[in-house]
Amino acid sequence: MASIVAYIELREGAVTRPSRYAVAEARRVADAAGATVYALLTVGPLGQAQIDQLASEVSAAGADRILCSSADALAGPPLDTTHGPLLAQVAEHLRPVLLLFPAGGVGAELGPPLAVRIGAAYLANASIELVAEERAPDLSSQRVVLTRWRAARDGQRQVDVGDLERPVVASLACGIAPASLGEPYAEVEMLPYPESSHAGPSLLASKTDDAAGLELCSALVWSRSGLDGDARTALPAGAALVVASETISPALAAASPMELFLLSPAAPDETLPLSLLAPDAAVLRVRAKHEVPP
């Protein structure tokens, strides 16, 4: 049976929201196309109880099987130089048709070098669409199409997974994961970390990235003048506020939300990277309270 691999990113020891979404998307594709969903956990040295806890959460998100590699080299940030050889080993072993990275920058770091290493097609900031075959309406013959915008939003780039005789690596836009798609138990297969004869990078210092939340948000609220304190603090965890006067920071450039709320009076202009939105993202214009509905 074909396999799909979803990479799981941990931050502060917890599975990120985009990672749960990536597993849920893998589950959706697997149910339609007939495939096994593998979730790949890469962790520093952890006890079995902690690994089981993470595996349980990933399993509930929709994974059939959990692959886990635990090593000192995997304790730091997800970098190609530390994580890439393991990913290549997994791809070589499973030969998946699809390898998915969650939103949050990990796809930009790990996706392109993995695609080059294994000769895969690659799509960044993609959305997945299941398209029914005209002549065969049964589920197993649905086509899996990955799409991303061109930066100017004047066209889209599409990859039909079935058209390629090679795997597809994709980083996903940041969507909302369903509450639960699977059982909170799945078999965990521990993977050895590939030995390397080369010295890797050594971590000298690390601090929290205050702008990192932007990378993980599934909704952006765009405002010309900001929000007052109450409204700002009421924003849910998956939403981030962007004020029009802000420049496009590297953190904002890494965002890939599925919904964009434009607070009136406002219109997206060059200060907002519309190209970051997922292909099926919704643009929602929110009328000011004094505006009369049309």
Binding site: D80, V116, R285, V286, R287
Partner: protein
Amino acid sequence: MIVLVCLESPAPSRASRAALALACTLATDAQVVAVSAGGSVASHSLDLARTCAPVSRVLQIEDPALDQADFLTTGMVLAEAARHLEAGLVIAGERSDHEGQGLVPAALAHHLHARLISRVQSVRLAATPDAIEVTLRAGGKICTLACPVPLVLTTPPGPNIAAELPVGASRAVDSLPLAQLGLDTSRLVPRPNLLGTLVPAPGKRPREMTWEEAAAALLHHR
């Protein structure tokens, strides 16, 4: 140490400008060389590099085949240039402004057998000659790493920093033929299309909603 900064042709992306700016921060302790593969000698990328004071040399890898090259070929050619110049550090923009996905730097690092580190914010030469200190965004952290060379770094798109680059006297652009890199043009064969097909954009209009509807919709993003 030679620091090679790669600029795409014909015009530098915001990420490439950031790469050039990053390379310039090393110019007091290293020799910064700018290179562009393909395009015209009068390209905006080469214009930017030749008037950038900290850049000591500007190279153009010239061959008509490069104008149609895929990302794997472009990466291979740039890797051969880095090898030819004995560059310890290569810096490139993470992606082009139009459809870039970070594949050229990945292909470059692959062919150079060098480590690739993305989303770099700053860099400095370490106390030992065979290492670089790199500060980057990754995993929700700002991390500083000591990395052995050879190394390929990529910079994310930043604000337009052209005005911040120190301007100097315009220097000549040296041509770097493929043959000098040991590459035969006949090797630059088209590869399978790994980027998918281009389709027209669907026409979507913004949906109108009230504050109350927006508040309810936002709650789904818990």
